[in-house]
């Protein structure tokens, strides 16, 4: 190895400076995360799942690739960067140690492969980035636009990447032209470019190499240090975020976090500002690529509502970057005075720390900034209430951000702390609280649908020391809504025909509180959920079947939070099982040839991966069915508009979500729309009426019940 030159010393100093600045920023951003004091579960559980997510979603870019164009382009850049990073290290070391090369350590063929990979990937990245720039500047896809996005910055970053690649390739070219230390490798690209420089003098060739080397190395350091100041922070955090994320497991997908409502001294319930969010929510903010995939899938946004899940995340980051530096400054000012009072945090704290600041004479401009909050100043009530909790945003996010959790935490703040919610929700809350259902129907009428059907209640069975095989949880819609009651009866008839020994809770059933929870009223939810768990545990229930996906999700996935663990089966799966096992006496004939489009319920498909069972049920019930799929389907299905408590809210802005969805379903040419959720039933049936269409909207249970063998029909009714 040669001696260190003056250039090496200069570069070493620059490198040291750049590394120092980078680590300062890294620490600064990490410190900001600690202001997120919101409750958080351990994020290092179930390591195998986390590592799988890191590999599949992170390194293999599985979610990125869901977009057929941008996906491969981005994945190309990402993989290119991974490969080129190895080369970048070599280049940086070259700057400090004259003539450093992996050549010295690697066996010849490996080194040859290495040089080849650098050249090819540099070319690949350059190509992909060029297309991406062209896309930003020329085709301008809609999802990349919108409030809070940084267009110029994006183009700047992409250009910087292009610059990195160009300098790298030129470097390879000059090196090849000089045949200087590169012979052992394979340089098809460098060789090609090198030919262009073949005529230059050795001095000019050397200068060309040196200029490009310096340009590349410096650009690399500038790039690295620019990242923390841009939306391309995701380059640094997205893999970390994917590792810590729970949106594709670990844990229960889509289950909302339980709140500790008894906690002493809590003044602010839910999230009003960054302090009440968790560090993970804030890390989500750092990781957002502003790709807009979430917003493009959001039913509220699609139909002209103010809500954009991307904006929720971008706003969270913006508020963090606005407030956290001020909090840091305040802590540092206050530190000598109030070392003792530190520690228990300032999750709600103008009082504790506010006094210390008073010593240093508060700057009104800073106080004004501190006095703002994420809620209202960045994110409005209207946005928050527009969410249907459909989870499409979460599903689409390539870096596993949980937009919905931020929305839910903020809704909790509105309801629990501020009592601010659309006035239509008041009767729903009161109904759940006082009547055990959101419409205030008389609790005594809950089992009216079952009159004359001879269905035992749990209480009746318990009185004779008997237990059923399954408990049929009917749900509020299934109990009170006239249309849904028909589904309830149809399902009960099938159970009877199949000889299933089942019971209902009858008047002991009451709302489990899921709507309240989704609307942010965790208090009411917990009262109702705990009461329901008590009832179910009282009967030692083990298996529950329900035809409402919301009941299915709530009881199956969220009741464990309150000590209620049961096997909960949605009727689509249960019907599929009964049909598969041949337990339902079905009509022998083929029946009509119906063209059926199945509408996926969010709480079945996206929340619980129940995608095939409903379709299989349809196929088994209707042997000659023509099952068609709407444009958005399965885990990408569009919400009907009723979730997240939207069922009880007005939909004043924009187009109605149910109409949008119904149009899509009708566009398949279906004569029958199949649903597996009583809320979807209402929304889609309304949509069909609104469009003046004639398609039937039927629940799976009705499709099956309509095909019961005549004897079974007779005996079951």
């Amino acid at each position: 190895m040669e001696q260190m030159t003056a250039g090496n010393f200069v570069f070493a100093a620059i490198l040291l400076g750049a590394a120092g600045f980078f680590s300062y920023n890294a620490q600064r951003l990490a410190r900001y995360l600690q202001f997120g004091k919101g409750a958080e579960t351990s994020r290092v559980t179930e390591m195998p799942t986390r590592l799988r997510n890191l590999l599949v979603i992170g390194f293999a870019q599985s979610k990125i690739l869901r977009d057929p164009l941008a996906g491969p382009l981005h994945a190309g850049v990402f993989w290119g960067f991974l490969v080129l990073t190895v080369g970048s290290i070599e280049i940086l070391l070259q700057g400090v140690i004259n003539g450093f090369s992996y050549d010295a350590f690697l066996p010849k063929p490996v080194f040859a492969l290495y040089t080849l990979s650098q050249e090819l990937f540099a070319l690949l990245v350059l190509g992909a980035v060029s297309v991406l720039i062209w896309r930003r500047l020329v085709t301008k896809p809609k999802r990349l636009q919108g409030p809070g996005t940084h267009q110029a910055e994006a183009v700047f970053i992409l250009s910087m990447i292009a610059g990195l690649m160009v300098t790298l390739l030129l470097m390879f070219g000059f090196a090849s032209a000089r045949q200087h230390g590169m012979e052992p490798g394979l340089h098809p690209v460098g060789g090609l470019i090198g030919r262009a420089f073949g005529g230059l003098s050795d001095g000019a060739q050397f200068a060309g190499f040196a200029i490009n080397w310096w340009a590349h190395a410096l650009l690399l350091l500038v790039f690295l240090n620019f990242l923390p100041y841009s939306k391309h922070l995701h380059v640094l955090t997205s893999l970390i975020n994917t590792f810590f994320s729970n949106t594709s497991g670990p844990g229960t997908k889509g289950a909302m976090k339980p709140m500790d409502l008894e906690a002493e001294g809590v003044e602010i319930f839910g999230a009003k500002d960054i302090e009440q969010l968790s560090w993970k929510n804030l890390l989500d903010g750092y990781s957002c690529t502003e790709c807009g995939r979430c917003t493009a899938a959001c039913p509220a946004n699609l139909t002209g509502k103010l809500l954009s899940p991307r904006k929720i995340v971008v706003d969270t980051r913006a508020r963090l970057l606005e407030k956290a530096p001020l909090l840091v400054a305040r802590e540092e000012n206050a530190a000598p005075v109030a070392h003792a009072a530190h520690g228990d945090g300032d999750a709600h704290g103008h009082t504790a720390t506010g006094e210390h600041v008073a010593v240093a004479a508060p700057d009104p401009a800073i106080e004004a900034l501190l006095g703002k909050s994420l809620l209202d100043h960045y994110i409005t009530e209207e946005e928050l209430w527009a969410c249907t909790s459909c989870r499409a945003c979460v599903q689409e996010c390539p870096v596993s951000i949980d937009q919905l959790e931020i929305i839910n935490e903020m809704r909790r703040n509105l309801v629990l702390t501020e009592s601010r919610f659309p006035e239509e929700l008041l009767p729903a809350f009161e109904g759940m609280e006082q009547k055990g259902n959101p419409w205030s129907f008389a609790p005594g009428d809950r089992a009216a649908w079952a009159e004359g059907l001879e269905i035992p209640t749990m209480a009746e069975l318990a009185a004779s020391n008997d237990t059923p095989d399954i408990l049929f949880w009917v749900g509020c819609m299934g109990s009170f809504d006239d249309r849904a009651k028909k589904v309830t009866v149809a399902f009960a008839r099938i159970l009877k025909a199949a000889g299933v020994k089942f019971a209902i809770l009858g008047q002991e059933e009451a709302c489990h509180g899921d709507p309240a929870r989704r609307m942010g009223n965790e208090y009411l939810y917990q009262v109702l959920a705990k009461a329901a768990v008590e009832t179910l545990n009282g009967y030692k229930v083990t298996t529950i079947v329900t035809h409402c996906p919301h009941c299915f999700h709530q009881i199956g996935k969220e009741f464990p939070q309150w000590g209620g663990t049961y096997e909960v089966i949605h009727h689509s799966e249960y019907l599929e099982r009964l049909l598969r096992e041949g337990r339902v006496p079905m009509d022998e004939g083929d029946g009509e040839r119906l063209v059926v489009a199945y509408h996926d319920s969010c709480y079945l498909g996206r929340y619980n991966d129940v995608i095939d069972a409903p379709r299989e049920t349809i196929r088994r019930a209707l042997p000659i069915v023509d099952l068609v799929e709407p444009a958005r389907t399965k885990d990408r299905g569009l919400c009907c508009g009723a979730g997240g408590g939207r069922m009880w809210m007005e939909e004043k802005a924009g187009k109605r979500i149910n109409v949008e969805r119904t149009e899509e379903l009708l566009a398949t040419g279906a004569d029958t729309i199949a649903v597996a959720c009583p809320f979807c039933m209402t929304m889609i049936a309304d949509g069909v009426t609104a469009k003046g269409a004639t398609a039937d909207v039927l629940d799976l249970a009705e499709l099956v019940a309509g095909r019961l063998a005549p004897e079974a029909t007779a005996s079951a009714s």
Binding site: P427, A428, G431, W648, T682, D686, A690
Partner: protein, 326 residues
């Protein structure tokens, strides 16, 4: 046999229908006893007072003063209580109207007795008065026994149909027991009639149109029916307000107004869960709908299966006729 005093309500210088009802109720309780009436008003009301004789009052005390031109509860209740004591009546009957409900408890407290409010029937039973009084929003009827003497009773408007006895009354001026101009509570204004649109929350009758009306223009049908009643407001379903046929403020249902009028007429309304949640507690529900399977019929007291465009105009005419005969 006992003597009763009836408080005869006047407004704007005219006796109200309930004034005759109070006298009628008093007459029924008095058996063969005397019924006297007392009426408050601005000078000039005396000229109207004699009419109370028709229902059985033998004497009418008239308390005239400018300060009685409008409701003056302090002076009126003091005068009534003083007269009850002075006249040795077995009881005093008021109307359970807005003004009567305001006066009756004041009078009772001045006399130091309990009272029977808003009764739909009353009779003497030995020494006591036994009356019917609907409780729990009319879902239960209580029979109450009033042992107090003197007794204070307010009678529900419409429960005692004025029965002409062909009698006549003498009219006697009476001085207010308290200076009516010195009352602390002063009625400063009276706005007659609701020229403005009736609010859905207050209207005793609501006529609601649903998507069955097919187009915004056809709401005329519903409006005409409401007009025929005179005291009805027009509501709409969510589907209708969503389509912009009617303003959102007209929406009745879970996400709109929650109402429970005396009479609810649903025209072309199917009865979706969210609509039923808003009107189910109405006292009487009438449904007019083409589809006899429509859920609205499940909650309706009276249903007509038929085309709204045929049924409603006929109903409008019938209602007009019925009201004209009153």
């Amino acid at each position: 046999m006992a003597n009763f005093l009836a408080v005869a309500e006047a407004r704007n210088g005219e006796l109200r229908k309930v004034a005759h009802e109070a006298v009628t109720a008093a007459k029924a309780l008095a058996g063969g006893g005397d019924v006297h009436a007392i009426v408050f008003g601005a000078p000039g009301i005396a000229a109207k007072a004699a009419a109370l004789g028709e229902c059985g009052a033998s004497k009418v005390f008239v308390v005239e003063h400018d300060a009685f031109a409008m409701h003056n509860p302090e002076a009126a209740s003091a005068t009534i209580a003083a007269q009850v004591k002075a006249g040795g009546y077995r009881g005093v009957i008021l109307s359970a109207s807005a003004h009567g409900k305001d006066l009756a408890p004041r009078v009772a407290a001045k006399l130091g007795v309990g009272m029977a409010a808003d009764v739909t029937a009353a009779r003497m039973d030995g020494d006591a008065i036994v009356a019917s009084h609907p409780v729990n929003t009319g879902k239960v009827v209580s029979t109450i026994t009033l042992s107090a003497n003197p007794a204070v009773v307010s009678v529900r408007p419409g429960a005692f149909t004025p029965a002409p006895t062909g009698g006549s009354a003498t009219v006697e001026a009476l001085a207010s027991a308290a200076d009516p101009a010195a009352s602390r509570v002063k009625t400063t204004g009276l706005t007659q009639g609701n020229t403005a649109k009736l609010d859905l929350g207050e209207a005793p009758i609501i006529v609601t149109g649903g998507r069955g009306l097919k187009a915004a223009e056809n709401f005329k049908l519903v409006e005409d029916l409401a007009d025929a009643f005179g005291n009805a407001a027009v509501g709409a379903t969510r589907a209708v307000t969503d389509d912009g046929w009617r303003p959102h403020s007209d929406q009745i249902g879970q996400t709109g107004r929650l109402v429970s009028p005396d009479l609810y007429i649903a025209v072309g309304v199917s009865g979706a869960i969210q609509h039923l949640a808003g009107m189910r507690t109405s006292k009487t529900i009438v449904a007019i709908n083409k589809d006899k399977e429509a859920p609205i019929f499940k909650v309706a007291d009276y249903g007509i299966v038929g085309d709204a465009f045929e049924v409603v105009p006929k109903l409008t005419e019938a209602v007009k006729a019925a009201r004209a005969n009153r």
